[in-house]
Symmetry: C2
């Protein structure tokens, strides 16, 4: 077994090939690049049982990851997050076979730890010593953290409205952090100017090929944890869409290896009604999404008016007979509260958007209620204290609780 079966990088738009052995960014045509593996050799050299006997982290999938050797792995023990049933809450919305993959249980408390672990490992292996990125908060926190672990410099630029804890994470791990009075696109342009001026290596969403490889491990884990099969429907909160693209890529790779059957999960892209460019493009039958004006939502992580991977998201949704739906901030917060109280799972608002979408899709009849539906909770609720109002009574030391019974 080779540690990695990475063979080359490929443009999904014009098919051009690129050398994976040196740092690459995007294709000459502007499209993101996708990592390709020698799946034929992999199928001959590796079995799924060997994968399952690996460590309890995303690194068990190392043959399908781009890092060439164990000693190049930069890790905080990330991966193999649990899939947890939500039967009681699911029953209340007419989807009793609802489950969640809880990505809050990763280093830095969000799914961004996956892309950062693999992306930083590969960047370091390719000789990169300083990375720069725009972020809505959690990606910056994750990349700053893994950069610190690798001994790399990091420049992070995030909107002033990004979750406050993510600032602290960047600062405590030693990143150079800037806020911008704007949105993630504005942060991106500031980073591009810094890259041009000071030679940082840019690692913005899909502007380098390896973050996606980390994110796709969600797809590997879903399949393996369900017994090497996929659920009927996978529901994903979509900003830049790397996770959705990654899960779909993972499913296709597992199918090509013969490790899962031919069934595809219907992929659902969920956006907030205050920032829904992918949903609009899906409804219009367009291949690309126009930038969204005046974007705003409580689910800040998906407040992405324009996504470079738009055509890949739309392709994943359509190829799997999925859909794209928008949900209101009110619905997001209501489902977040209902699921925490009913199931003890404290979603982040982006994750809770998937719950609102499931309710909506059941009401519209797109789901008939018999399906096994897996939603991704992309971050820990504890990173978003503002989603909950707590005003408990304050007692003196000789005070008493109210006798309300229980």
């Amino acid at each position: 077994m080779r540690f990695s079966y990475l063979s080359h990088l490929e443009c999904p738009r014009d098919g051009r090939s690129y050398d994976a052995g040196v740092p690459q960014k995007v294709c000459g045509c502007g499209s993101p690049l996708l990592a390709r593996y020698d799946l034929k050799a992999l199928a001959e050299g590796v079995t799924r049982d060997q994968i399952s006997a690996g460590p309890p982290s995303l690194w068990r999938y190392h043959p399908l990851l781009p890092v060439s050797a164990p000693e190049a792995v930069v890790t905080l023990g990330e991966g193999l997050t649990p899939i947890v049933g939500l039967p009681k809450y699911g029953a209340t919305i007419g989807v009793p076979r609802l489950v969640v993959k809880d990505e809050g249980l990763l280093p830095t408390g969000s799914f961004k730890g996956r892309g950062a672990a693999v992306g930083v490992s590969r960047a370091q292996e390719l000789g990169i010593t300083a990375i720069a990125m725009p972020t809505n908060g959690n990606a910056g926190a994750a990349w700053a953290t893994y950069a610190a672990r690798a001994g790399m410099a990091a420049l992070i630029v995030m909107p002033v409205d990004a979750p406050e804890i993510t600032r602290k994470e960047c600062v405590v791990t030693g990143a150079q952090l800037y806020l911008v009075d704007g949105l993630i696109g504005d942060a991106g342009r500031i980073v591009e100017r810094a890259v041009a001026q000071d030679g940082w290596f840019p690692v913005a969403t899909l502007k380098e090929p390896y973050r996606l490889e980390g994110k796709k491990t969600m797809g590997f884990e879903i399949a393996e944890q369900l017994g090497w099969r996929v659920p009927d429907v996978i529901v994903y909160p979509t900003g830049g869409g790397v996770g959705l693209i990654g899960i779909y890529k993972a499913v296709l790779e597992l199918q090509e290896l013969g490790w899962i059957g031919e069934k595809l999960p219907r992929m659902v892209a969920v956006q907030a009604s205050g920032c829904a460019p992918i949903v609009r493009a899906f409804e219009r039958g367009a291949d690309h999404a126009e930038p969204w004006q005046d974007a705003a939502t409580v689910a800040f992580g998906i407040n992405v008016p324009s996504a470079i991977g738009d055509f890949l998201i739309l392709d994943a949704v359509r190829s799997t007979r999925g859909c794209a739906v928008a949900v209101s901030d009110e619905a997001i917060l209501a489902e977040l509260a209902a699921c925490a109280r009913g199931e003890g799972v404290f979603f982040c608002p982006e994750g809770a958007a998937t719950l609102a979408a499931v309710r909506q899709l059941r009401e519209s009849g797109w789901l008939d209620g018999s399906e096994e539906v897996l939603v991704l909770n992309t971050g820990a609720g504890i990173k978003y204290p503002n989603t909950v109002t707590a005003d408990p009574p304050l007692l003196t030391v000789d005070g008493n609780v109210q006798s309300t019974g229980h």
Copy 2:
């Protein structure tokens, strides 16, 4: 294989036996009760390889846990947290073989999820429908969360100075939450009055026997993850001390089963110099700890002036040729920052207290620097935003980062 080999409860002070089949609190003598297992039958019916083939959660140790059947398990996928090396930071303090078990990667972001998962599962199995507890924050958050999952009522009382996010966790999961203008002992007396009045089942630290059983899984995991052996030294931030007592109990159980060798890890109890009753008792050679006056520390989770399990903590420390040390708040915050920047691991202040202790023990010569030292980070740094000051520059959308290089 039986699902659980639980046999009875035993008082470690007077040896009395109690029926484990009905709800129990403490011994008539006031001591905590310890769960005992039929280890002879277990050794004949279960192998460590069978354990290792189990699910990637603390429930793989089910034969050594008190829950009698799989369907009684209340779970959010907790356990098997990673052990991560800290070689760079360790080298700077003269202990290059330093590793951390990162308990921040559990549901609710702290090690308290272990005790809550097992405690709530067992409570529900025994017919308990409403639990009440005092807490310094994280235990309340965890028990409220698992109670919600089980459909149980929860009454939580915490000091007004407990971490604010833990209030939100209690409220969002539907617990009845009260704050007290005092310390955890004051919260405890309020809970006792509520229990007497309204019949809540009290689940304060070591006042019921099963939280400890959840906590001991840290010890099982440490041994299994290191290849069924123990490290030279285990360093634990000690408030109520349940984790330290639990790890020691786990080591003894594994030894009795013959699953690990006879070596004991030296157990180190770390406290804050602003609240160090166990350290004072250790230094005086006492078997019990006098309550600490005017307790205060930035590591709020270990701000416990008086612990019911004091004699068990002191016994574990002495029986393993360990020690108890106090560290200053300044040292805690300095090590927290140094380790985040150097290793990308963002400790909670209680966890960082163990780093300060390791430095101190190396400087004093108690550690010679050759030892494999495992510290417990008992919670995610992201639950403690106040340990980090972040005041990043705010740019306009056409602003630029400073060209400082990297």
